[in-house]
Symmetry: C2
Subunit: 233 residues, 2 copies
Amino acid sequence: MSDQQTVIVFALFPGVTQLDFTGPYQMLCALPGASVILASREGGNITSNEGITFAGLRRLADIPACDVVCVPGGRGVTDNAIKDEVFLDELRRLAGTARYVTSVCTGSLALGAAGLLRGKRAACHWAWRELLVPFGAIPDAGRVVRDGNVVTGGGVTAGIDFALTLVSKLVDEKTAQAIQLRLEYNPAPPFNAGSPDTAPSEVLALMQERMEPHKARRAEMVARAATKLGAHS
Amino acid sequence: MSDQQTVIVFALFPGVTQLDFTGPYQMLCALPGASVILASREGGNITSNEGITFAGLRRLADIPACDVVCVPGGRGVTDNAIKDEVFLDELRRLAGTARYVTSVCTGSLALGAAGLLRGKRAACHWAWRELLVPFGAIPDAGRVVRDGNVVTGGGVTAGIDFALTLVSKLVDEKTAQAIQLRLEYNPAPPFNAGSPDTAPSEVLALMQERMEPHKARRAEMVARAATKLGAHS
């Protein structure tokens, strides 16, 4: 790794939501001098929540240090990542070497389970934000939230805004703007339904109904991880 | 394939820009009853422009029909897709079965090379839009452009707006809004530099300077593909 290279590691796990990292990946790999790495506990292949298989991942343990570590979200956060002590150990180790410790969507729950969010404000997907509390984090409804060297993005597509913000901090605003122009990020959503505050009430009710069956189980997984974390510290 | 399944095929090639399809993929696979397929000429693995390897792709020839065919963009469009007669034949065949023939970013150049845009208005990445002309298409600066059953998106991130628009046409607005809320697509770019009209002039000049060395070669590739297309028809 050369002196000028910025090493950015996405820490993946089975059942990750792919856009949580493919969005910021596209932005960050346009950063001059960046080495953007997809890695997981075992390396090799990872299949996302949606069924896309990503191949050729590095092993987290083989990455000595990085400038940025980023954990995306997805169903696999509660099903896999926050239960996996080896994954959490690697997160803690890399976070100790990084200039920025980051996440997108429910990836902040993995940062929390690794003990990296105690007393910190953090973003999360709107539906799962309160699950940050058992980890001692302070849920924040911002789309991109910075608290010290912890930068977290809200749900899924917030990863794109997060990445541009991060580029402006890693380098400068002009570089972030050039990447924004190159990727024609001039969003024009055909509807204004992207947050619980703006979505039509029947749409919000529908999504809440669909998420309801998963709530108790995820809260239980988080409670267990928080207990383990407490026992750890 | 059941009667109710909506089959959506992303036609990939080496050197594709991954966010061009991973953005819409995330939106479209949230569509109830959708089967979203990543496919390529040979099937198996494809490596994107940025170096991400996607595994387990289907072969285009093995897909008998679809509701939507979508071609993403990337350097590989001019380097590979528009020169590949087998790929273009498969595009033409699938387009003949589809309710919607679609693209994101420079993917519209592949639709053009397949002869699917004659006399049609189409979107493209802002820097490469004029390359549509040799294929008989009418470049359109819209972020999402619809002309008959052809729906095309502008550069890279426009794929997300494109996908929501497509969902509203395939099903209804409420379904599109529910997906928008689920993926928290409430964009808040930290800068207003996402189009040549809004970017600071020095940022635009920088990007134009970086693209300049590629212009002549890409125009030449397009001219050759347009000549072949003319000989074909």
